[in-house]
């Protein structure tokens, strides 16, 4: 290998070690630390002059720290005369925000929100006929999570009172404390062009272009990533992006480690991942099922019975946290999406919010395909809060499936995801090491979680790029 050096950021140094091992290289020396005030500092111990530099950093853990650290590393290489800087980013930063459905995002954690005006914001906006905005973001108000956020915000809303230690330097300032809780909706005093935000549909800005531009502007010449959640992300860059696939690894696992794999069913936990799952099912000649989430189901609660009914009279199996409906009418391609609970009315309780005669929009999930007495393999590229995949596994078990494998490329497992997975219907989790999984394995137990190593794919890609060979060959064969 000529003129090549591999450095590791602090997000996933175990993966970088493996990559270096595979390439037969010593890992480049770099000192990564923080100053007392929290500023990141980077100093390379090995010369990078005229070298082909690869920096391994995954978009996991403390994402923003790792991203800023990565840009500083790139910049430091750049001004130290590196010939070419390639970023090896198995799990790409902010890769998920490029896609809009808020239901697929993680839960907003409260730490980030301390502006009391969010109360108005999250609570506001009567659902108007929705046009597909350019950003396509979902209305915040329809999501149950911000409601919780809202409640907690209300309790935390008095944190903005100015500190008494502010020196009142003028009469205007001495009125400070009295003005602290001015109603946010008080009339704006500048009257030019102020529009009321009452009819404004709040949205979440997408960050894809920013991330791409940050890396490019820092000096990156090339990006190597894996199983990009949103393939359009490649288009945000003006530099080459090599998107590698973990598919060969996953197929290898299915063929070699799942007993009687010919009888298994590949299941995609949502419509977005259908393409990925069908590709694997096709390649192995396996049958395929799909779990579909819908938000349009209208529910009417019958005032005379306490049974919640959907508009076409289907009983619901509703639990308080994740309302789900199993449609008893057979789907076109399936004979097994049968009715629930032996045809009896659902035993699920009516949630307190289901007021009689109130039409409500809830999330529903349904299974398309036959899983009765089968072994199911859930395929997903990215699992964060694990809500989707645990819900999917539960549905599969409800539909008579014997055993559920979950094959995941990027296991972020934020919040209490590991706990949820441990208590879920999933029997075995197979996840790659694009994100460092040591802590997760320790928590969930190594009999339930299996780690697949992607370092060989990445190191082969590095070798090929360094030699100027084609990379596309490893898309199918892995390494």
């Amino acid at each position: 290998m000529r003129d090549i050096i591999v450095f590791s950021g602090s997000s996933n140094s175990a993966l970088a070690d493996r990559i270096c091992n595979n390439l037969g290289l010593p890992k480049g020396k770099v000192e990564l630390r923080k100053f007392a005030n929290g500023e990141t500092s980077v100093q390379f111990g090995d010369s990078v002059r005229d070298k082909d530099v690869y920096i391994v950093q995954s978009g996991s853990g403390h994402v923003n720290d790792n991203l800023i650290q990565l840009t500083i590393m790139i910049s430091a290489c750049k001004i130290s005369s590196a010939r070419r800087i390639s970023v090896v980013c198995p799990l790409f930063f902010y890769s998920r925000q490029a896609e809009s459905p808020s239901s697929k995002r993680g839960t907003p954690s409260l730490s980030g929100v301390n502006n009391p005006k969010n109360i108005n914001l999250l609570d506001s906006v009567p659902p108007s006929p929705r046009s597909l905005s350019r950003n396509g973001s979902k209305p915040i108000s329809s999501d149950p999570q911000p409601k919780e956020l809202l409640n907690s915000l209300k309790s935390a809303s008095n944190i903005l009172s100015p500190s008494p230690s502010y020196r009142p330097t003028s009469s205007k300032l001495s009125q400070l404390p009295g003005l602290a809780h001015v109603q946010p909706r008080s009339l704006p005093t500048n009257n030019s062009g102020v529009t009321s935000s009452a009819n404004y549909r709040s949205w979440i800005a997408q960050s894809g272009t920013l991330i791409a531009n940050m890396l490019t502007s820092a000096g990156a010449n090339q990006i190597i990533t894996m199983d990009l959640h949103d393939p359009q992300f490649q288009g945000f860059f003006d530099i080459p992006v090599d998107n590698l696939y973990s598919k060969p690894l996953i197929q290898h696992y299915i063929v070699n480690y799942i007993p009687d794999y010919k009888d298994t069913v590949i299941v995609s936990p949502d419509a977005g991942g259908a393409k990925r799952a069908t590709a694997i099912a096709d390649a192995l000649g396996l049958s395929f099922a799909l779990i579909h989430k819908e938000r349009r189901q209208k529910i009417v609660v019958d005032p005379n019975s306490s049974m919640p009914l959907s508009s076409d009279g289907i009983t619901l199996n509703q639990n308080s946290s994740t309302p789900s409906i199993n449609n008893p009418q057979p789907m076109k391609h399936s004979s097994s999406t049968t009715s629930i609970n032996n045809g009896f009315p659902a035993s699920g309780t009516v949630t307190p919010s289901s007021v009689p005669h109130l039409e409500k929009y809830v999330g529903t999930t349904m299974l398309v395909g036959d899983v009765q007495d089968k072994v199911c393999v859930l395929i997903d590229d990215l699992v964060d809060t694990s809500n989707t995949i645990t819900r999917a596994a539960k549905l599969l078990k409800d539909q008579g499936c014997k055993y559920v494998y979950a094959l995941i490329t990027h296991g972020i497992f934020s919040g209490d995801a590991i706990k949820k997975l441990k208590n879920s219907a999933i029997d075995k989790i197979i996840v790659t090491n694009t994100v460092d999984q040591d802590a997760h394995v320790a928590e969930i137990g190594s009999d339930m979680m299996v780690i697949l190593d992607v370092s060989r794919i990445l190191s082969e890609a590095i070798r090929r790029i360094n030699n100027g060979e084609s990379v596309s060959m490893i898309y199918d064969h892995g390494w």
Binding site: F35, A36, N37, G38, E39, T40, Q43, F44, G45, S47, G61, H62, V63, N64, I68, S75, A76, S80, F93, Y94, G106, P108, S109, N114, K117, N118, L121, L160, P162, S163, P164, S165, Y166, R167, T169, S170, L173, V182, P184, P188, T189, N190, S192, G193, V194, Y200, S202, W203, I204, A205, Q206, S207, L210, N213, M214, T216, S217, D384, I412, S414
Partner: protein, 326 residues
């Protein structure tokens, strides 16, 4: 026929680093803080929630470099995301108001194979879509040259002078710079109040560690005012104070613009020989004020508010360099 640009209004956006300052600035302009905020997801990615139209408006994002080990980079990303979001929401002009500019001390290549991170920050802000930056007492004013967009570096000096005139008996004052780099700052203050100044020369072995100090000037029986642009771990300030008292100073007061106070700085200050320490609210100060009785705070929101007003109306900002705004 040419189109006349419609007059637009100012929007004050608050990041999570210093919402109190944003509120205060908005109040000084008789505005409300806009309904746009930064949130964090459980996977620790940040995002910007826009709840209000800012189309064709002048947007001012109030965010400062603070947060320590945990949050500093989060706030930085928030700033970038917010700028980017404002561009996406068709704001006419996006100005970042960053009183304490992060990474300002990493402004040169002092060792091999390190980054000039201040330059990187300039690039990132510009890349995100920022069209103007307002900051205060930049650690090195050369950082302005890292930007290809206008940077207004405001000075805390006028308001500090005002503070000294109001609170100190300045017959017997002596300004002292704790390092050679701050000599200019001290000389300028001394000239304005017609007093003398002294210098402390220090030899720094490692970042955040002070080794040896030498005083240049006579401070006997003087009230010494230590002037610096920032107080981080406060090692320098405490040692300088000890040195001044040792050399016969009556008492020592420190006035700094940016009170970062990382690590156990507050403890050090409480146990130090400093009579008091004064800093601006360019960083959130409420948590420090509770812990340190020696700390008093100068409010800079009127200066920033006035700068924003002048910028928006196309008036000169240089008036603020020499006149205190209260």
């Amino acid at each position: 026929m040419s189109f006349q640009k419609q007059p637009n209004s100012i929007k004050i956006l608050a990041g999570n680093s210093h919402p109190e300052l944003a509120e205060a600035i908005a109040r000084s302009l008789s505005l409300d803080v806009s309904n746009i905020s930064a949130i964090e997801f459980s996977n620790r990615e940040s995002a910007i929630l826009l709840g209000e139209s800012i189309r064709d408006e002048d947007v001012y994002i109030i965010q400062t470099g603070c947060g320590g080990q945990e949050k500093l980079n989060d706030y930085l990303m928030e700033t970038l995301l917010m700028i980017h979001a404002c561009k996406a929401a068709s704001a006419r002009k996006v100005t970042a108001v960053i009183p304490n500019f992060p990474y300002a001390r990493q402004d040169r290549k002092d060792k091999s194979r390190v980054a000039i991170t201040a330059k990187l920050m300039a690039n990132l802000l510009t890349t995100a879509g920022c069209s103007h930056v307002i900051t205060m007492d930049l650690h090195a004013s050369q950082i302005q040259g890292f930007f290809s967009i206008p940077v207004d570096n405001l000075y805390a000096e006028p308001i500090v002078l005002q503070y000294i005139k109001e609170t100190e008996n300045y017959d017997n004052l002596m300004f002292v710079s704790p390092d050679a780099g701050g000599a200019k700052r001290v000389a300028s203050l001394a000239e304005k109040l017609d007093t003398q100044f002294a210098l402390i020369h220090k030899e720094r072995a490692k970042a955040n560690e002070v080794s040896r100090m030498v005083l240049v000037g006579d401070v006997t029986d003087k009230t010494c005012i230590l002037i610096d642009d920032m107080a981080d771990t406060c090692g320098t300030l405490c040692k300088a104070s000890d040195l001044l008292l040792e050399k016969g100073a009556k008492d020592v007061v420190a006035i700094v613009t940016h009170g970062i106070f990382s690590g156990d700085a507050i403890n050090k200050l409480n146990n130090s020989s400093l009579k008091s320490i004064v800093c601006t609210n360019s960083l959130p100060m409420s948590q420090f004020a509770e812990l340190c009785s020696k700390l008093s705070i100068i409010d800079i929101s009127p200066i920033l508010g006035e700068a924003i007003r002048r910028l928006h109306n196309g008036e000169s900002v240089s008036y603020l360099f020499s006149n205190a705004v209260m």
